[in-house]
Amino acid sequence: MADTTQPMTQSELMTLQHYLKEYGQQAEIFVSQLEMLENGRMEAFAAIETLQAMLSADDGIVLLQIGGGASVRAKVLEPDKILLSIGAEVVVERSNKDAAEFLKERIIEMEASQKNVAETLDRLRSQMNEINKRLESGYQQTVAAGQDQE
């Protein structure tokens, strides 16, 4: 990279800006992946809670959300027969307990993926900080060099 004792040229500063922009774009993608994983995780937690509540509800009546904040009371005829999407667009019937176990495993997988993405994001951020520092010092050197010439 640039020699810190010499003022950076305009093109070096621009290259650093491009680097920063590119890292910024990559970081945005990873942040959105983290959000997706978190949404998936929360959804799985909610599903587990609902599965357990269905079993403990004596009358089998649950509130079914139909969108727009509206819900209806619905009676679940077979609370122990759960249709579960297991991946590859395949849906299978599982018992309530097995479905909850499957979702718990999915949560563990998602948490592992979140850890992976977060680590990558941290690395990107530290590289962005490094570039930011260089940019700042480059600007200062350029300004100082300009003042000397005046």
């Binding site: 290259t15 590119e22 774009q25 990559q26 992946q33 297991i86 991946g87 667009e89 299978v92 992976n116």
Partner: protein
């Protein structure tokens, strides 16, 4: 890589092994009672598909061997099927793997007391190798084709196409080839700068026009530059697009007509799982694809897309993107991937 799938496959391998071993324990005590039947039974040949009772008696008493039957492994195969589906392996691919394992194992003779591990691992390996295909060695392809070899990269938005172009450029440069990059993504804001930065870092020539320019013209110029400077490979980046956008797809068709690529490479991310497989099939149907690159493999513990994609669309996987650095790309070698997933035979 594919940590979750690896773990699950090893559990399935153990389950298959113990099912076969369990069958041995059930069959062995019957030896004394059926000894008289051996003379007649020994004359019959064993059919690999469905061994008869007499076949079993013959191999059990005379050869001290067992024959693996459908019943012995059906539960373990169902479990393997679930494991594959849960890992996002596409249903037809899953069926192909199960069918192959079933054919490999049923009717197999095994010496009593010998480890079943090699038998099971062998069956799983050959099933996986069959669905993974042969891979695609880009260097071999370049060696055997006239220069410049023109490679067009397509795919949906945000899957890492531009970074992949840069990684492959760095890989080919390391292999001693001269490369020019065509900045054909004139649509996305910042794409021209992005590929420019990559090219500068790797030390490759790039041909670019203004933002909004006709990508066909940029890529045509890239090919002309390669021809006049005797460059070995042209890597043509394009804007990401969904196959449902007909205007963008016809633009891609124009690029193909103008640039006449030798290879069209479809790029998608492994983390998209089965969606990546479906999209690849759609792209192949609409614009065609000769090979596939899967990115973000390091973040995909399931491995479903990598296992399914080649078998589903009938085109080979070429590279796997495994990280952020330019060197984080690996040539897709099926044997190596299977070895990684299942370990050694012993």
């Amino acid at each position: 890589m594919f940590g979750g799938l690896k773990e699950k496959l090893q559990a399935a391998r153990d389950r298959l092994g113990s099912s076969i071993q369990g069958a041995e324990a059930n069959q062995a005590p019957a030896t004394d009672a059926i000894e008289t039947a051996t003379d007649a039974a020994a004359k019959k040949t064993v059919s690999p598909g469905a061994p008869t009772f007499a076949d079993k008696v013959k191999v059990l008493v005379i050869d001290r061997e067992l024959i693996v039957s459908e019943k012995d492994i059906s539960d373990a195969l169902s479990e393997l099927e679930m494991t594959l589906l849960e890992s996002d392996v596409a249903l037809p691919v899953c069926d192909a793997i199960i069918a192959r394992v079933r054919t490999s194992l049923i009717g197999k003779h095994r010496k009593i007391g010998r480890s079943v591990d090699a038998l099971v691992v062998g069956a799983l390996k050959s099933a996986l190798l069959e669905v993974l295909g042969n891979g695609f060695n880009l260097v071999d392809y370049i060696k055997t084709h006239s220069r410049p070899v023109k490679i067009l990269f397509t795919g949906v938005n945000g899957t890492g196409k531009t970074t992949t172009v840069a990684k492959i450029g760095a890989y080919l440069k390391k292999q001693g080839y001269t490369v020019v990059i065509g900045g054909g993504d004139t649509y996305r804001a910042g794409a021209i700068e992005q590929i420019g930065v990559h090219a500068e870092r790797i030390g490759l020539k790039i041909i670019q026009h203004q933002e909004g320019a006709d990508p066909s013209a940029v890529l045509f110029d890239s090919v002309q530059y390669a021809v006049s400077h005797k460059i070995d490979v042209v890597l043509a980046d394009t804007a990401g697009r969904f196959h449902t956008k007909s205007n963008l797809m016809s633009q891609l068709e124009k690029i193909r007509r103008v640039m006449k690529p030798d290879l069209v490479v479809y790029v998608d991310e492994a983390v998209a799982g089965n969606d990546a497989v479906i999209r690849a099939a759609e792209f192949d149907r609409t614009v065609g694809a000769d090979a596939i690159v899967l990115t973000k493999v390091d973040m995909d513990s399931r491995g479903g897309a990598a296992i399914s994609i080649a078998h589903t669309i009938g085109k080979p996987l070429m590279f796997l993107g495994t990280g952020q650095r330019y060197e984080d790309i690996m040539l897709f070698e099926p044997a190596q991937v299977v070895e990684e997933l299942l370990g050694s035979d012993s």
